[in-house]
């Protein structure tokens, strides 16, 4: 009886406080995302979901990406590069400690880099570290990295989630209990449901404004829609169903963030498989495709048409969409010229994301217009990796290449689309040896033109980063230069 009265009194007091407006802004946040990480070690799996939760929040590298894709100092405060571009001397920030209290020093950096490039390394991006020759500890605050050859993208490479700094003390439990240096500490993981992180009070930099954040995993687009509508989640980064975004845009409770990603979505073409070994056939393919219809039909209008394998928001981007404009008549003429007046039949193997499945159906219909018949096969990722990516058993496929600045994959003749052009390979070697920005820019532009002119793949569109958030949540990244949900600057507006 009495306790009931007491509770009622407390409640009304709280109500008074709230109505007077003394209430503090909220400091908790629930972030929805589609995929759950398989484990929590960003340095030993390709799963982007790991970085989506942990990058910059829990783990940090020597350098880091900003929202606009630029690379800025991270745990390394500054660095010096030798004249010949092979020796990088990093000065580490002082007073940085891991969440378990141990200090972050040059030994940890050496451990992390050596571990990533070791023989038994399980790093999914081992190539990032391939040019490293030695890593030396000069003193606790200084690390010297010597490269085998100059590498213009080394600082960029060190910003990846696969290159974050981990500690030997906590490495054994990293898959379940990640220990990093970031503004948030890992707190709890309910598998199949959510991961919780809390503010790190001892952070070396500007402290996080949120006290705690929960990542909730909702794979099903319908459930995601309902969860946001019911305000069960405050932010949904990477919203899986673009068709639902107009409903959020029309609702004043929400904001829709449309940003850029590094995902060039392409019609991957097997350049070694006849008839695609004929450049005329590939050009015919390019003119048969109506990009706008694909963007409208598969992505409900979200996405930027591209004419080459390069992100449109990059300053070095060249708009080459005109080289492969939609022109079915020209396409038919080219096919006839190449010896296929009646078209031909090929395979179109599609991985699970909806851009591929929906885009594939639309492309199949468009190709049919010019006489190319496709047999569609929907594949799960492991099958796609085995059949298409490793086995090269495909004619066409659709996939979004989400790695940043990855035009260099065209220099790998054994890469799944099997483009083998020595001139391009030379170009990439030149790029690595060039450090002056103007020279690099010129080479990158030339590279874009070369692959567009060879019609290596069908270039469709740049994937848009689509997020929905409560209208009062501020400081979110709209763009996705890498897989990350950086919450360090996120706060609730009063």
């Amino acid at each position: 009886m009495f306790s009931g009265w007491l509770r009622a009194g407390a409640l009304s007091a709280a109500a008074v406080v709230a109505s007077v407006g003394w209430a503090q802004a909220r400091t908790d946040l629930v972030v929805g995302m589609q995929l759950e990480p398989p484990h929590l070690d960003p340095t030993s799996a390709a799963a982007g979901a790991i970085d989506s939760v942990l990058y910059s929040n829990v783990f940090e590298g020597l350098t880091r990406f900003m929202s606009d894709g630029s690379v800025v100092p991270g745990l390394a405060e500054s660095w010096e590069i030798s004249e010949d571009g092979t020796v990088y001397t990093f000065t580490l920030r002082s007073g940085v400690s891991f969440h378990d209290g141990t200090a972050m020093d040059a030994e940890d950096v050496k451990f992390s880099l050596d571990r990533a490039r070791a023989e038994d390394s399980q790093n999914a991006q081992k190539a990032l570290f391939a040019d490293i020759d030695t890593v030396e500890v000069v003193d606790p605050q200084t690390v010297r990295v010597t490269l085998k050859q100059p590498n213009g993208s080394f600082l960029f490479n060190m910003a990846w989630g696969d290159a974050v700094i981990v500690a030997p003390e906590s490495i054994d439990g990293i898959k379940q209990q990640p220990v990093g240096t970031g503004a948030f500490k890992f707190s709890n993981w309910v598998q199949g449901d959510r991961i919780e992180i809390v503010k790190n009070p001892d952070y070396w930099g500007e402290p996080a404004k949120l006290d705690r954040a929960t990542f909730k995993f909702i794979a099903d687009p319908t459930a995601a829609f309902a969860a946001v509508m019911a305000e069960d989640v405050h932010v949904f980064s990477g919203f899986p169903a673009p068709e639902n975004l107009p409903q959020f845009e029309a609702d004043p409770r929400f904001q829709v963030l449309v940003g850029s990603t590094e995902g060039e979505t392409i019609l991957g073409t097997n350049n070694k498989m006849p008839p695609f070994d004929n450049v005329k056939v590939r050009e015919a393919l390019a003119h048969a495709i109506d990009r706008q219809a694909i963007i409208d039909g598969a992505m409900f209008g979200y996405g930027t048409p591209i004419g080459t394998h390069f992100a449109p928001h990059n300053p070095d981007y060249v708009d080459l969409t005109g080289m492969s404009d939609y022109d079915p008549e020209k396409s038919k003429a080219l096919l006839a010229e190449a010896g296929f007046p009646d078209g031909f039949t090929t395979t179109l193997k599609l991985p699970p994301p909806s851009y591929a499945r929906r885009g594939g159906e639309i492309i199949a219909a468009q190709l049919r217009e010019v006489g190319i018949q496709t047999e569609i096969t929907n594949l799960e990722w492991p099958q796609w990796l085995e059949e298409v990516f490793r086995g090269k058993d495909f004619g066409l496929t659709i996939v979004s290449h989400t790695e940043p600045a990855d035009i260099n994959i065209y220099a790998r003749p054994d890469y799944y689309f099997q483009y083998d052009n020595p001139a391009f390979q030379q170009l990439m070697t030149d790029l690595n040896n060039t450090t002056d920005p103007a020279g690099r820019s010129a080479i990158l532009k030339q590279a874009q033109e070369m692959i567009a002119g060879d019609y290596v793949n069908g270039y469709l569109f740049q994937l848009a980063a689509l997020s929905v958030a409560n209208a009062k949540v501020m400081g979110l990244w709209a763009n996705a230069p890498t897989q990350a949900t950086d919450l360090t600057g996120v706060y609730w507006e009063d």
């Binding site: 390709a46 799963a47 399980q122 999914a124 598998q191 794979a219 459930a223 990516f389």
Partner: protein
């Protein structure tokens, strides 16, 4: 009776053994490498080899089979390739969703089916019978995932009475957890209830035709009295069999409904594990489900034999 039980037990063991072979062998030939899936597009050959080694994928099939079966016998279901946690723990987590869901659906279905079936049987041929049987026809014919979608549209999106999906978790309390299972349980229960109501009705009608009921009727019992006092008890045997089978089915068969409502249950676990080629999880969960079905059948057989000695000679 003991001999019969032993014989059935033997055949249970053989069935399980053959099932384990079938499961293992069919998954051996599944294309797709779990290590490649984990490490993605830019993985190097040496990295893949290192991971495969750690996962034990470099061992021969015979060794992996004996490891798996031997482990299961002592309750060790192995370690998931993708999550790197014990499969038994994952199963335990998921059973906390699947088992209550199956029980919830079964309860609902029984609560609907019993009165419906009895009512229809009591008013056989009358309009109520025709209406009830008509509804059960619809209930059997409706695709339950479509029914689920319509319920989401009405109750979750338009009325916002329920969440469209997800599981609140037992930490959130009993009622929130049950609430998140309600729409899925209804979707699962509808076809089951329809089948059960039909079985109930026809079983009652069969019993009402049997001699002892006729005798009772001849002694002056009304049709309704005969039904309630004598027929019902005897009609329950086939109904209970169906309930037993439905339970086993609900445990495994909720996979599509779990997908619609995004519930972290056993079916979804297998579905995801197949997509990720987490074969050890697939093997163990499927084996567990087979075991559940075989066990239910075994118990039903024993119960039958206990009730009706004539059946012992059969099979």
């Amino acid at each position: 009776m003991l001999r019969f039980a032993l014989k059935r037990l033997m055949s249970l063991v053989v069935t399980l053994w053959v099932a384990s072979l079938v499961i293992f062998l069919s998954l051996e030939v599944v294309p797709g490498d779990p290590a490649a899936f984990m490490l993605g597009l830019n993985a190097q050959e040496d990295t893949l080899a290192a991971l495969r080694d750690e996962l034990g994928l470099n061992k021969g099939p015979v060794e992996r089979y004996t490891d798996w079966v031997g482990g299961m016998l002592v309750g060790d279901f192995g370690t998931s390739y993708t999550y790197r946690t014990p499969v038994s723990r994952m199963i335990l987590d998921r059973v906390q969703v699947s088992l209550p869901l199956a029980l919830y659906a079964l309860t609902l279905s029984t609560l609907i089916a019993f009165p419906a079936g009895i009512w229809a049987a009591a008013r056989r041929g009358k309009p109520t019978d025709i209406v009830v049987m008509g509804i059960t026809q619809l209930g059997v014919a409706i695709p339950n995932f479509w029914f689920a979608m319509l319920m989401v549209l009405v109750f979750a999106i338009n009325l916002r009475w329920f969440n469209a999906g997800g599981f609140a978790g037992w930490d959130a309390g009993f009622f929130p957890a049950m609430k998140s299972l309600t729409l899925p349980a209804i979707a699962l229960a509808l076809p089951q209830a329809s089948i059960l109501a039909r079985v109930m009705r026809s079983s009652l009608l069969d019993t009402l035709n049997e001699d002892f009921i006729r005798t009772a009727r001849a002694k002056g019992l009304s049709r309704r009295q005969a039904l309630w006092r004598h027929a019902l008890r005897n009609a329950l045997i086939p109904v209970l069999t169906i309930i037993g089978l439905q339970f086993a089915f609900l445990l495994a068969g909720a996979i599509i409904i779990e997908n619609v409502f995004f519930l972290p249950g056993l079916g979804r676990l297998v579905f995801q594990a197949i997509s990720a080629r987490d074969l050890i999880v697939v093997e163990s969960v499927v084996m567990l489900l087979v075991f559940a079905v075989v066990l239910v059948n075994f118990l039903v057989d024993l119960a039958y034999a206990a009730v009706d000695p004539r059946l012992r000679g059969r099979r």
